[in-house]
Amino acid sequence: MAYEITLLTTMAISILFALSLNFISGFCGQISLGHAAFLGTGAYASAMLTKSSIPFLLTLPVAAIIAGFFGFLIGLASLRVRHDFLAITTMGVGFLFVGIVRKQDFLGGELGLAGIPSPDMSRESFMVFCIILAVIFAIFSLYIRRSWMGFVFESIADNEDVTRILGIDASRFKLAAFVIGTAVAGIAGALYAHHFRYIGPDSFGFVQSVSVLAMVIVGGVGSVWGVAFAAAVLSILPLLVQFIDDYKLLFYSGLLFAMMRFAPDGVAGIVQRLYGYVRRKS
């Protein structure tokens, strides 16, 4: 039973994290190659606080605010640089985060933070708590997509210049996407830290940023259901197939490459095409 609980908790946290990137990259079209830095910001902030005996639940808003604040700064950067330049800038932010954390003794440096206290609740309750947060954010995402905010996001993702010609202040909407997406990543980070009880700089490096982007793309950019599904499967796959441990990363990267090469619109795109095919047949 304990194994299933760990599995489901990991899954829920990954879904929350992947949906937070989907908000920025999927909805608003702002590619980010450094999203793990915000997971890390939330994780470190929350872990430092609970280690100084502050109740876990109180640290969640703090993690969200700190991560959201850094997200706001990256949002400002996204107003200066676009497309490929933005992708590389966000990648740089990821490296900067890891590089800075490595050198800070009070954050545990290279060794990271061990002995993070448990989140004052049973493992079952913590699992349920993570699932509830993931579900709430999934519902919020679905709502936003229907709202005028989602309407504007879609337009920005499509063509930012045209959005401006329609009199819409695209900058503010981009900032909003970055702040919401990174704040939620911060919350996911707080959950992550108290789930694994150990964090280090390498938990939030480039590979993690690519992995979460892979979840968004494999799921189907912008599709809440697709991304949640991809995050669920990709997060627990390594736990389920431990016998291929040595080839894990090769399997992953091979899958990602094959997805890009043959089905770049992801699971959501495949489902849509299958649906269209079945409908034409019947």
């Binding site: 709502y143 936003i144 229907r146 709202s147 005028w148 905010m149 309407f151 504007v152 879609e154 337009s155 993702a157 499509d158 063509n159 210049d161 045209v162 959005t163 401006r164 010609i165 329609l166 009199g167 819409i168 202040d169 695209a170 503010r172 909407f173 909003a176």
Partner: protein, 268 residues
């Protein structure tokens, strides 16, 4: 609560023009690119309710002046005023919010959205003016109704649900115009809306522009199609090689020998 779809849309409202007020003022604008002067000391005033045709041979600097008005190009000298307000520090979306709307020469539909939603988004200015507002509103019906009316007016009533990528250029040119109209601008800037249309389509769209103007809409129309411009525009502005050549009543302008020589291949 009376929700009638046949309610007149604001763009249709006829406002009697009582006094002449400048909507757009371009004052002594000069633009240089490197060593070349693209626009040289141009001044231009468009008053409330006017329909001004802006013509000139290729390379006259028409597009550059349009870009100065919309804020894409910053002039080295001079300024642009909308209803008396200096726009020097305004970004393009601020200019649009302040009351100008642009139908671009090169069509740029939002490909992910239907024709209807392309226009509906432009109709939703009240909801997209603030991020918070946009977050708390989901209902698009009102805007879609308005968008449907606008698309019908430009002759696109049959394709409201189509995706732009599936439609020919002539349709997308009209989409540009409908989207600009949806912003209910004080000044409608049309950059070659007739280019690429066949004769019948061009005449139809020109008629629509004329109707809009009769309804009180102020329009600046950049256009190569002289035949249609001369048919609908009472006032003309001619520019050549970045220099203002003539401005005024269409008949007088077209009799101007400099204008004739610019168009007939100058013997200067």
């Amino acid at each position: 609560m009376m929700m009638s779809t046949s309610a007149p849309t604001p763009v249709l409202q006829v406002e009697p023009v009582l006094q002449v007020e400048p909507v757009l003022q371009v004052e002594n604008v000069t633009v240089r690119f490197g060593g070349d002067t693209a626009v040289k000391n141009v001044s231009l005033t468009i008053n409330q309710g006017e329909l001004v045709g802006f013509i000139g041979p290729n390379g006259a600097g028409k597009t550059t002046l349009m870009r100065v008005i919309t804020g894409i190009v910053k002039p080295q000298e001079g300024r642009v005023l909308l209803e008396g307000k200096d726009l020097a520090k305004s970004t393009i979306n601020e200019r649009v919010s302040a009351g100008m709307a642009l139908a671009q020469q090169i069509v740029q539909p939002l490909h992910a959205l239907s024709m209807l939603d392309n226009v509906a988004l432009a109709c939703g200015g009240a909801k997209t003016a603030s991020v918070i507002n946009a977050m708390f509103h989901t209902n698009r019906e009102q805007e879609r109704d308005k968008a449907r009316d606008l698309l019908e007016r430009v002759g696109l009533g049959e394709v409201v649900d189509a995706l732009p990528a599936t439609l020919p250029l002539g349709y997308l040119k009209r989409l540009e115009v409908a989207r600009a109209m949806a912003l209910e601008p004080k000044l409608l800037l049309l950059d070659e809306p007739l280019a690429g249309l066949n004769q019948a389509e061009a005449k139809g769209l020109a008629d629509l522009i004329l109707t809009l103007n009769k309804g009180g809409q102020t329009v600046l129309l950049i256009e190569h199609n002289l035949r249609e411009v001369l048919r609908i525009c009472p006032t003309l502005y001619v520019q050549d090689n970045g220099l203002p050549l003539a401005f005024g009543d269409a008949d007088t302008v077209m009799k101007n020998p400099e204008v004739r020589s610019a168009y007939l291949g100058g013997q200067a």
